[in-house]
């Protein structure tokens, strides 16, 4: 199981499949054909109320599935949306199966189960692999059941439908496992490369400070040697003054070493400090737990790095990112990412998945860009 669910940040939070757009497109195509066959009566059946109702229920099911796969839908609402889809799917399947006669209705049922199979992918987009496999199997059993209730049901047909509806689920699971495996390998490779490069960068950046601190340390050693040689005799005022000066200097150097914060440091290391501005008291940033920091940084970096260009050249280019961290009630912090020129609808699912791992996000859009706001639980340091 650990192979199926690698320990990669965001891996279990979805999305399960690469592209929601493909699944939405496929579902719409199948719904259109399903509606045509239900209402169009290609096979000689006369359209009735149950057919129209089934088409309407399928449309509601599609909307529920789209909602279940939308990155901005709060995670706590997802189980209810999935249940809604399941209810509409079962009702629509039963109604369509009831409309099947010896001579007609078979085609409408075929498209109905195909639509259900496609919607399983959308419904499970933000679920895990086990949930997807479970729902695929349930959908296959239900599809077989619909066929079993038709008058034309014969030996083997239920089994055929069961397998036909199970095949996409199996292919989907195979695809997810393959992608997860590639993702795990790529993540490990990228992490190793980034660690090497960032460590070198960090060494270069800290060398000046280390040398300065070492020089101070050397002076302190010499002072202590002179103090030891005094054998407990009263110290000269000069030595006490030098000790005072070195203490001030050492304290200042230690303060300089701690003047930054982990977020700014990480952004500087990643070379993204020129397009990001962090407004936060160091104390507040320190309150963010080590477990939350990777997600916080990942969100900031995902907002800062450009999305690969598609046909709409430049549409994915981010603007300036301002990060604000403010205190909030009940040991909570309010984190706001203000991004100029950002269209939240074009943010990737990985970004929402990282934001959601911090807390329930709120999004405000305006002509100048967008703000993503999240409340994070961060207890005080003391």
């Amino acid at each position: 199981m650990s192979r199926l669910f690698p320990d990669v940040p965001g891996a279990t939070a979805g999305p399960l499949f690469l592209s929601r757009g493909i699944l939405v497109g496929a579902s719409l195509i199948l719904w259109t054909f399903s509606a045509i066959t239900q209402v169009g009566s290609f096979d000689g059946s006369s359209p009735d109320h149950s057919g129209f109702t089934a088409v309407a229920l399928d449309l509601i099911g599609c909307c529920a599935a789209f909602l279940a796969s939308a990155p901005t839908t709060p995670r706590r609402q997802l189980p209810y949306v999935r249940l809604l889809w399941l209810a509409t799917s079962i009702t629509s399947g039963v109604m369509t199966a009831q409309g099947v006669t010896l001579a007609s209705g078979y085609l409408a049922l075929a498209f109905n189960v195909m639509l259900g199979t496609a919607l399983v992918f959308l419904v499970c987009m933000r679920w895990d692999l086990m949930g997807f496999m479970l729902l695929s199997a349930a959908n296959s059993v239900l599809s077989s059941f619909y066929y079993a209730t038709t008058p034309r049901f014969g030996s083997g047909e239920g089994l055929l439908i069961f397998f036909i509806t199970l095949i996409p689920g199996l292919l989907g699971a195979l695809f997810v496992v393959g992608i997860r495996s590639r993702m795990e390998e790529q993540f490990a490779r990228h992490s190793a490369q980034a660690l090497t490069a960032l460590n070198q960068h960090a060494d270069t950046r800290s060398s000046a400070h280390t040398e300065e601190l070492s020089a101070t340390h050397q002076q302190i050693q010499e002072l202590f040697e002179r103090a030891a040689r005094s054998e407990g005799r009263p110290l000269t005022p000069g030595l006490a003054e030098e000790a005072q000066w070195l203490a001030s200097r050492l304290r200042a150097q230690l303060m300089v070493a701690h003047s930054g914060n982990w977020l700014t440091e990480a952004l500087v290391l990643a070379g993204l400090d020129s397009t990001a501005s962090v407004t936060a008291q160091p104390d507040l940033l320190q309150r963010i737990t080590q477990a939350q920091r990777p997600a916080f940084l990942a969100v900031t970096m995902l907002l800062l790095k450009p999305i690969p260009d598609g046909p709409r050249q430049g549409s994915g280019q981010p603007g300036m990112v301002h990060v604000y961290v403010e205190p909030h009630v009940d040991d909570q912090l309010l984190i706001t990412w203000r991004v100029t020129g950002l269209n939240p609808n074009r943010c990737t699912p990985a970004l929402w998945s990282e934001v959601e791992s911090l807390g329930a996000p709120r999004v405000h859009s305006d002509p100048g860009g967008a703000s993503i706001i999240v409340h994070v639980k961060a207890p005080r340091l003391w």
Binding site: L18, I22, A110, H190, L250, W262, L297, M301, P308
Partner: protein
């Protein structure tokens, strides 16, 4: 066979994202052919040569799909399309055809599997024209046979659906894959950056704590003229090498244990004037260590009493708790204006708590300045470094209590 496939693969065009799609199409095509075949072949009628030809076609298609995993050369796609059409015709001949027959669904899926060749569509007009030609071939055959057998639009609609979905995948998937890979790369970089910063900060904080608790304290004593120190304490404190660790900023990101217990044994602090001098000790229980610290800090009228038992702790955790409690004692002696500190040790399950209380002047914890190394780094961060916590409870005029908590496991 392997050499033949390798030779074919050598002639394939430059690898693109679409190659991954072509491979996915090969898997999908193979699965649909296999499912249709398993369902239709057992009920297939007709002469023996029909059966033999159907077997041969399935074998050819299986080889083609296997080859498609390595290359998507145009003749291969043509063979797949023609093979699927021929196989559907052979299997269709074995059954009766009508729109409400479930067998037609299996035939339609078989024909629909031709759409997987659309996944090999590339961004050139030659490729578009060739894919369109294959589509015309499939749709032409479907329309012709539908008219010939007076069938309804079932197969045609399913075929249209398959091709539209595959074209949508071909159009959308490469960019989706690019975005997915980019997101993974950014996440990997963010994890690496956070790890580097965390390790560096941890090492720097460790250095800072070490310097604050030893060197800086020694400098302060010297600046005050060494007041309060006996001559022998003075000599031992400033003897050559007493402070000479690896030097600030030069230590690796090793643990506190590594940096302070080089000989592998637990170490206790001894000395005078609040200056830490490392001494070996075999005690591993919290009470013994804190009593040693209490003796160390009790001087010039200032007393520290230790009560309770906390059992044993791992060496690095024990050292952190003792150092943090010692720092609390030093702070109380310096700033509280009280001449006495009580240290209460207790253990509830795996959690060991140490309360360091004084009845001094107290202060507002919220007003603690950022440059306050003593509390922030030497107490709070030191405890956090070993997975523990420190809480500061103080009110102006009503004393101060510092609660140190850590899990033994």
């Amino acid at each position: 066979m392997g050499a033949w496939i390798t030779r074919l693969a050598a002639y394939r065009p430059t690898l693109e994202r679409s190659d991954l799609l072509a491979r996915s199409g090969a898997v999908m095509g193979f699965v649909f052919v296999a499912a249709s075949w398993l369902y239709l072949f057992p009920i297939m009628g007709g002469p023996l040569w029909h059966h033999a030809l159907a077997w041969a076609l399935v074998m050819v298609l299986a080889v083609c799909f296997a080859t498609l995993m390595r290359t998507d050369l145009w003749p291969l796609r043509l063979v797949i399309v023609v093979g699927l059409i021929a196989l559907s015709e052979l299997l269709a001949g074995a059954s009766y055809r009508q729109d409400s027959d479930s067998l037609l669904l299996a035939h339609s899926l078989l024909i629909g599997a031709t759409s997987t060749v659309a996944l090999s569509l590339r961004g050139s007009w030659q490729s578009a024209a060739y894919t369109a030609l294959l589509a015309v071939l499939v749709f032409g055959h479907t329309i012709t046979t539908s008219i010939q057998h007076r069938l309804g639009p079932t197969t045609f609609l399913i075929l249209v659906g398959f091709w539209l979905i595959m074209l949508a995948i071909r159009h959308t998937a490469p960019r989706a894959l690019d975005i997915f890979l980019r997101d993974q790369a950014v996440k990997a970089e963010s994890v690496a950056a956070q790890a580097v910063v965390r390790d560096r900060s941890s090492a720097a904080a460790q250095d800072a704590r070490h310097l604050h608790d030893t060197v800086l304290r020694g400098l302060t004593l010297l600046a005050r003229g060494g007041a309060g120190l006996a001559p022998q304490d003075f000599r031992s404190m400033f003897a050559a090498g007493a402070y000479d660790d690896d030097g600030p900023g030069l230590r690796s990101t090793g643990t506190l244990t590594e940096s302070t217990m080089a000989d592998g044994r637990p170490a206790a602090l001894r000395g005078g004037g609040g200056v830490a001098v490392v001494e070996s000790s075999t005690a591993t229980d919290v009470a013994s260590w804190l009593k040693a610290r209490a003796r160390e800090h009790s001087r010039n009228g200032f007393t520290v009493d230790v009560f309770g038992e906390g059992g044993t702790l791992p060496p690095d955790v024990l050292l952190a708790v003792a150092d943090a409690a010692g720092e609390c004692m030093v702070n109380a002696a310096r700033h509280a204006g009280s001449d006495h500190v009580d240290v209460l040790i207790s253990r509830t399950g795996p959690v060991v708590s140490v309360l360091v209380s004084d009845a001094g002047r107290g202060f507002d914890p919220g007003s603690l300045p950022a440059e306050s190394f003593g509390v922030r780094h030497s107490v709070v961060e030191r405890m956090a470094h070993v997975g523990g916590s420190a809480r500061l409870l103080s009110t102006p005029g009503r004393g101060t209590t510092v609660v140190l908590e850590v899990e033994a496991a």
